[in-house]
Amino acid sequence: MSPAVTAELAAFAVGPLDPRPAEEVLHAGERTVANALPLAVAAAELPATRIALETVAELGNEPEATVLGSGRRLSPQWAAFVNGVAIHVEDFDDTHLETVIHPGAPVVPAALAMAERTGCSGLELLEAVLVGVEVALRIGIGVSPSHFDRGWHLTATTGHFGAAAAAGRLLGLDAAAMANGLGIVATQAAGLQAALGTMTKPFHPGKAAANGVEAALLAAAGFTGPVDGIEGRRGFAEVTCADPDLEAMVARLGESWHVTDNAFKPYACGIVSHPAIDAAIALRDAIPDPAAVAEIEVEVNPVVLDVMGVEDPVDGLQSKFSVYHCVAVGLSDGAAGPDQYSDARAVDAATRELRAKVTVRLDPAIARDEARIAARTADGSVHRRHVEHATGSAGRPMSDAELRAKARLVAAPSLGDRLDDLFDAALGLRRLERAATLAQLGTVVAAGVEGVGR
């Protein structure tokens, strides 16, 4: 008989964490939060974030929870919505490589908005993030790879469950109410891969966070959903996946944690391109002048062209889904941060010329975190590089220091030295007395009101 997945995940989400998660699990959760919050602060002024904020602010509700960056306050679901958009908009957030889920963007904002309502401790927030990430990843593992192959955006679909679990835990739901909450999101756990390259892509985790918060609030008040919403007939798993593995969703639940496989991106684009970027950067010692390149061939896993196949992007958002652009900026800049994916850079003449010289060869024998590159220069010489494990992958994770450097890169321009306070508070979340402190630390204070540079 197949497991009662919805009920088991619900009981796990709201129950005591027993055995206590290992040190590496707690640390992985803290890193997830420490990576996500600076991204939200940094993206506050981007068009997608601004429009999202202005639109839901126009709905005109009581201010309660914090929008990071601006410090504007909205009702909890809409604060979670804007923060979720902001964390994901630059495609610089965390990634569970096996499923290509970015669990931080839907889960962390949902938990933070509820933490502001309940006044919980940092440890309680950390536990909520851990169960939320775990629920999202387990459901994602259970429906992979068919769910992805059918065109679903897993960060959006599984993010609904993760956000609901995190919010439900902080609201103190019992297991029965939590099962209703997971059922409430099961029927609305949507998000299409067609949205890649539009503002609707970052909208996905934002809406997942908002729907998760809403589902938890509804379930707390007695609203009902299908308590077999995940595994039931005509339920989430059956409808969105050809061959769901329900056992995998609950196997060793509470004992083994997938959050430790959550990776952090060194580059501000779709993660499947990262090995190719590492490879391009590795060529720079042999090819200091990109204009000398005649042609480049990069060999990658076939998944790369499923999501990164835009050949000639017309704006910054599209350039994040172009492995051709990624290789070009990697070779010419030795970097792939927000600057390399600006609207201006996407249509820069030299960049366009260089990326037109890039061809992609797909090879299923190459792992997702692996790439080979060969470049021929005008003088006829050929240079090859092989990246076995991309930076930020499980085989070569980013260190805490590298994470801090990345947080500085994106958020120091708006937060100044307060960025370190925010990062330290998140990285030491289990010791933080009040979780809502994170919201204050993630608020940009106008110069002159309070010194930004302490």
């Binding site: 068009p47 997608a48 429009i51 999202a52 202005e54 639109t55 839901v56 126009e58 709905l59 005109g60 509700n61 009581e62 309660e64 009702s75 909890p76 679901q77 809409w78 059918r150 065109g151 679903w152 955006h153 959006a156 209703n180 059922g183 409430i184 099961a186 029927t187 609305q188 949507a190 998000g191 299409l192 891969q193 067609a194 949205a195 890649l196 390259g197 539009t198 503002m199 609707t200 909208f203 996905h204 809406k207 809403e214 609030l217 509804l218 008040a221 007695g222 609203f223 009902t224 959903g225 299908p226 077999d228 919403g229 039931g232 007939r233 005509r234 339920g235 989430f236 059956e238 409808v239």
Partner: protein
């Protein structure tokens, strides 16, 4: 599946087509059906407005600081997003709303929710509101026709799948969006579809059209400010992921010449429409049966979908009772009528009802149409009575008359807003010449004393 060349631009062309109809008078028969659809759904929205699930949603919804907008039958006012959700929830709760039989879509709830959420603030005239309602219905039905039967067969409630798109179209028209922004709105809404059939019998199923409408309203508000979304026909987009196969001609051909809305029907009984021919037969037999106690067997010959959708032999609560043909047949035989009262909790455990319910045998007949059924009742002493229904009441072959529709609305409105039915019927009839939605809003808003108490 990649979009064929003929399918490319389908969303843009669809939006151009809808805009081409905006500001032009509806053909008289279409206007009449739009008006009947509007009256019917307003009646069920008011009738459902005091249900427990609506109370829960109102308790959870954030409080608007700017006065909010109307929810029919309620003294409270909500922001446009939650007002749309509450309106659509109330309108679909009793499963008493309108039905487009070919697609089994209930377009009125999401269309009404979008028009009431956006129309008053946009300063919509009566004719504009009616036109937006009609086009929001038509947009849902055109999309539904294009994805039928594949979307349903895959496990979706099509009302949820298409509701957000239609609501986005209606809201976009009322907000004055151009074709490009409207296409973005449809794309945003299409990426947050909902409606798994596992949810049947729970509160969240009833909220599918309401949540879809809320999503559609949000999508239109985002698109108005420049937020971008994917085309419905894009690779890994709405049509491909939600349906696999689809028929472009059903989406866009003869828009404005051929109206799916003309084929909308109104239920004489609450609950799943596939059970209605059997209910007709039960009511007809009730008049011929001297003593229900003499009934020893009940054989229901019916379309196979009855077993797929409404076979629940012992519904646990009133929502599930709406999807139980055995219960509906039992109370129909006993009472000679099936209304909201026959589905209340006490009737679900009434020993006389339970006895007959347990006797019901559903037998699928491959040769039967969906609106056809036959009941053979075996009586003590070897006697039997049989009644065959060729076309169910309320279907296209036997539509409810205007008078019957008004009586149905009266049974729904009077318990909630006593004495308001004539005003509501009049306001809907006059909408085509009205300066605003005020007449309708006044008819569905409780008196001031009630508002003060809330």
């Amino acid at each position: 599946m990649r979009a064929l060349a003929s399918e490319q631009g389908a969303t843009a062309a669809f939006c151009e087509g809808l805009l081409g109809l905006w500001g032009r008078p509806l053909p008289a028969p279409v206007e009449r059906e739009a008006s009947r659809s509007l009256l019917n759904v307003l009646g069920v929205a008011v009738g459902g407005s005091r249900h427990e699930s609506v109370e829960i949603l109102l308790a959870v919804a954030p409080r608007p600081r700017d006065g909010g907008v109307t929810v029919p039958g309620r003294p409270e006012r909500l922001d446009p997003y939650y007002a749309a959700m509450a309106t659509g929830l109330a309108a679909h709760l009793d499963d008493f709303d309108d039905t487009h039989l070919e697609t089994v879509v209930h377009p009125g709830a999401a269309a009404l929710s979008a028009v009431l959420a956006v129309g008053p603030r946009a300063g919509a005239s009566g004719p504009a509101a009616l036109l937006a309602f009609a086009l929001a219905c038509e947009a849902q039905l055109r999309v539904a026709a294009a994805i039928t039967p594949w979307n349903f067969d895959a496990g979706w409630q099509v009302t949820g799948t298409v509701g957000g798109i239609g609501a986005a179209a209606g809201a976009a028209l009322l907000l004055g969006l151009d074709a490009e922004a409207m296409a973005n709105a449809l794309g945003i809404a299409a990426s947050e579809t909902l409606g798994l059939r596992v949810a049947h019998g729970t509160m969240i199923k009833a909220s599918h059209p309401g949540k879809a409408a809320a999503n559609g309203v949000l999508a239109a508000l985002l698109a108005r400010r420049g937020f971008s979304g994917p085309a419905l026909e894009a690779p890994r987009g709405y049509f491909e992921v939600l349906s696999g196969e689809w028929v472009p001609a059903r989406l866009g051909d003869e828009l404005g010449l051929r109206w799916e809305l003309s084929l909308n029907t109104y239920k004489p009984y609450p609950g799943g429409i596939v059970s209605h021919p059997a209910i007709d037969a039960a009511i007809a037999l009730a008049a011929q049966l001297p003593d229900p106690g003499a009934i020893e067997s009940i054989l229901v010959r019916c379309h196979p979908l009855v077993l797929e959708l409404t076979a629940d032999p012992a519904p646990a609560d009133p929502l599930r009772a709406r999807f139980s043909t055995p219960h509906a047949v039992a109370v129909g035989l006993l009472d000679g009528e099936v209304g909201v009262a026959q589905l209340e909790a006490e009737r679900l455990v009434d020993p006389a009802v339970v006895r007959l319910r347990d006797l019901v045998e559903l037998r699928p007949e491959r040769g039967y149409e969906r609106d056809e059924a036959e009941i053979e009742v075996g009586l003590a002493g070897g006697f039997s009575r049989t009644h065959h229904v060729e076309h169910a009441r309320g279907g296209l072959a036997r539509p409810l008359s205007d008078a019957e529709l008004a009586r149905k609305v009266e049974t729904l409105v009077e318990p909630v807003l006593p004495g308001r039915t004539p005003g509501l019927v009049g306001a809907v009839a006059d909408l085509g010449g009205a300066a605003s939605l005020d007449g309708i809003l006044a008819a569905v808003t409780p008196p001031r004393a009630d508002r003060g108490a809330a």
